[in-house]
């Protein structure tokens, strides 16, 4: 390189370095939905122990100027130039981001089944029990796009063998790959009438009808969890709320806060994860009371986050629906809050949680 060319490279390199030195620290990464590492405090002790080095390296990565743009450059280079079929385990197919869930973690499924068995043995001997597995979108999209996916058949067989006391409700025929957000893991509530119908039929209650709901779009773009993880160019999703008078009259009691709210928590429209608008997001224990229910029946759903958006569609006949997320509450504590007395009980878990179930308490 000639002198002026060398100076050109050095000046731009130096400018970026200087920027890295002086850029003010950001607290969170909206795209990745996580707090960012902050500048570590220096001390001789942290230096000698290596903690300062580790923390500074995390800080320098998290606070690097134009970090999100650099991550996008990497993703585009990785997939476009190096031809990698996925980036950080996430791939795009027809504009939809999919996490490559591979291989099936049988030990994790067994852990989940063990927890469900404990709940059954402890609380549910007198209840009608059902289970439904929510396939992740890889179930529909992996094979046709030439990607790897877990052995779903083996998962279904393993779960069926592990829950002989529960009746299976198969959701697979009621869903398609288009029923999930393009940028997120979750399914779209406005596409769940067939799945809710399958559940209601299995439970023996009245199924929802599409014409009974108004599809109300949320006026904020929804950037799902894969948007930040993949750092690939994607259009945001639109989140819809399925509304009607019955749902607007329902009340939701949160056992953690002791507060009563509504099915759709509009305060979550300002949160990082727009999906939290459905039943306020991650909650250990909720009860939905439906004053307009067709019967006095009650339903208990042991669930993960997929349950938040479909539960409102199961309310037609149920006077009371209780949602339990054992990622946030020990099953051993449930007897302090709930009275199991012959309700319908549904275990509704996604393949994502079953194959990565360490969080189940």
């Amino acid at each position: 390189m000639k002198k002026h060319q060398t100076i050109f490279v050095l000046v731009l390199w130096g400018t970026l370095a200087l920027w890295a030195w002086v850029v003010p620290s950001r607290q969170i990464s909206e795209a990745e939905r996580r707090p960012l590492a902050q500048k570590p405090a220096f001390s001789v002790q942290t230096l000698l122990s290596g903690k300062f080095r580790e923390d500074f390296e995390s800080y320098s990565l998290d606070q690097f100027p134009l970090r999100q743009s650099f991550r996008s450059v990497k993703s585009l280079f990785h997939t476009g130039v190096l031809g990698q079929k996925d980036n950080n385990g996430i791939y795009l197919t027809n504009g939809t981001a999919v996490k490559q869930e591979y291989p099936l973690n049988r030990d994790s499924v067994n852990h989940a089944l063990g927890r469900f068995q404990w709940i059954y043995d402890q609380y549910l001997q007198e209840d009608r029990c059902f289970y439904a597995i929510v396939p992740d979108k890889g179930y529909y999209l992996a094979e046709e796009s030439g990607h790897l996916a877990m052995d779903y058949d083996a998962l279904y067989v393993q779960v069926a063998a592990g829950l002989p006391w529960a009746e299976e409700i198969d959701l697979r025929p009621a869903l398609t790959g288009q029923d999930y957000y393009r940028t997120d893991t979750h399914w779209r509530q406005e596409a769940l009438i067939p799945a809710a119908t399958a559940l209601c039929k299995g439970l023996g209650v009245t199924a929802p009808k599409a014409e009974d709901y108004r599809r109300t779009p949320v006026d904020r773009p929804f950037y799902g969890v894969y948007y930040g993880q993949a750092a690939l160019p994607m259009e945001p999703d639109t989140l819809y709320l399925m509304e009607n008078d019955t749902l607007s009259q329902c009340t939701v009691f949160d056992y953690e806060t002791g507060k009563t709210g509504s099915v759709y928590d509009m305060t979550k429209l300002d949160s990082r994860d727009l999906y939290d608008v459905y039943l306020s997001g991650a909650k250990a224990l909720l009860t939905i009371e439906n004053p307009n229910a067709g019967t006095e029946r009650e339903l208990v759903i042991f669930r993960d986050s997929f349950g938040s958006s479909i539960a409102p569609l199961l309310l037609t006949d149920y006077a009371k629906v209780t949602l339990v997320d054992i990622r946030y509450v020990q099953p051993e504590l449930l007897e302090q809050y709930l009275d199991f007395h012959g309700q319908d009980v549904l275990f509704l878990y996604s393949t994502l949680v079953l194959s990565s179930s360490a969080a189940l308490k």
Binding site: K3, T6, W13, V73, K74, S75, Q84, P103
Partner: protein, 459 residues
Amino acid sequence: MIFSSIPFLYYFLPAVLAVYFLTPRRGKNAVLLLASLAFYGWGEPKLLLLMVFTIAVFYLCGLAIGRSEAHKKAWLLLSVAVGVGLLGLFKYADFFLTSVNAVTGLRLPLLKLALPVGISFYTFQCLSYTVDVYRGTVPPQKNLIAFGAYVALFPQLIAGPIVRYSDVAKELDGRIHSWENVGLGLRRFVIGLGKKVILADNLAMLVKLCRDSGSPSVAFAWLYAIAFTLNIYFDFSGYSDMAIGLGRIFGFHFPENFDYPYLSKSVTEFWRRWHKSLGSWFRDYVYIPMGGNRVSKAKWVRNILIVWMLTGLWHGAAWNFVLWGLMFAALLLMEKALPGLQKLPSAVRHGYVLLAVILSFVLFNAESLPQAGSDFAALFGCAGLPLFTKETGYYLRSYAPLLVLSCLGATPLVKTAAQKLGATRAGSLLEPVFWLGLLLICTAYLVDGSFSPFLYFRF
């Protein structure tokens, strides 16, 4: 600290370059020494004491060898004892104790000392210094700061190339700083960074995927072996490029360490092209002092076996490394015994070397001898694995462009094409944009957090 990291590229290096070039000539070695100690201490602050001790011992021994004709051998032996002793203590003691325990059934406690990063590299550099002073090849360095800067010089401190004192003695006392050196060094550094971050680290991901696969196959085993062979080349040669480039920026001319080794048509040629600074070190400081090939055939074979066993041991304190070295000794002896091999068609000789090297790296990368055994069984269809699985096909398709790019990058084709392009007017104008673009792409990979430590750090 590693070169392919944000703290090095955007904090440490810019700061050091700024201070270094703003410092008057007489203070530049001091800046290099302090920067190098900071660089080393960043990763292992406690082991700075070992580094300072090593510098002090070899500095004093060098001075003593130069001053005292009568006792110079004693001083040389002292320096060798200290260097080899520290290396033995930190790197080989537990290997020795484990082996003794295994053979005798004893339960001697292990020392479990942390391996100081780069100890094999800087110890060999120090040994070459006192030996060369003893031989009268170079005068002793009287300036402690200059000597300390040589031993601790951060561009090549922890993963080579092994720079002998004689290579840089003159430049330690006075070197030329020029825009030409900075430009050439910068370019070489970015080439090495690209090799490491874009090629080696992605190949390392493939190696890991192959290793962790729940659905192994014979094809996957070969994919693993080939990926690791390319991975270690780009990892190590990338580091050497960065070291040589950084040295050039500071006005040093470090020796080349690689010369397209995978083009070799004999194992002898391979070792003239692979890790050249290590091969020449063993030749000059072990093989030739033992008599080299100017001895009886039996002693010559003994010399070859010793040198290659030591070469294996230098890479790691484990039996698979010893076997790895001895495997090359056997191949080299075979090539000497069968000169007719040279008359085989070029493609056959090239294929033989590639196969030998790929298999050698399977042994090299095994965590134990039993694992090496199961790896070889997988490669040759003796492990009861299917020939091919869906997973193999997926990763083969996903990594095919990277593997092709890596194979091309292991030949001079890319360099030749770049030189031709650079000779055109447009190429010349766009050259800085290309290097800057490559730097930014590497930065993007690092910011995304997908980096891995250098393989040769553990040596």
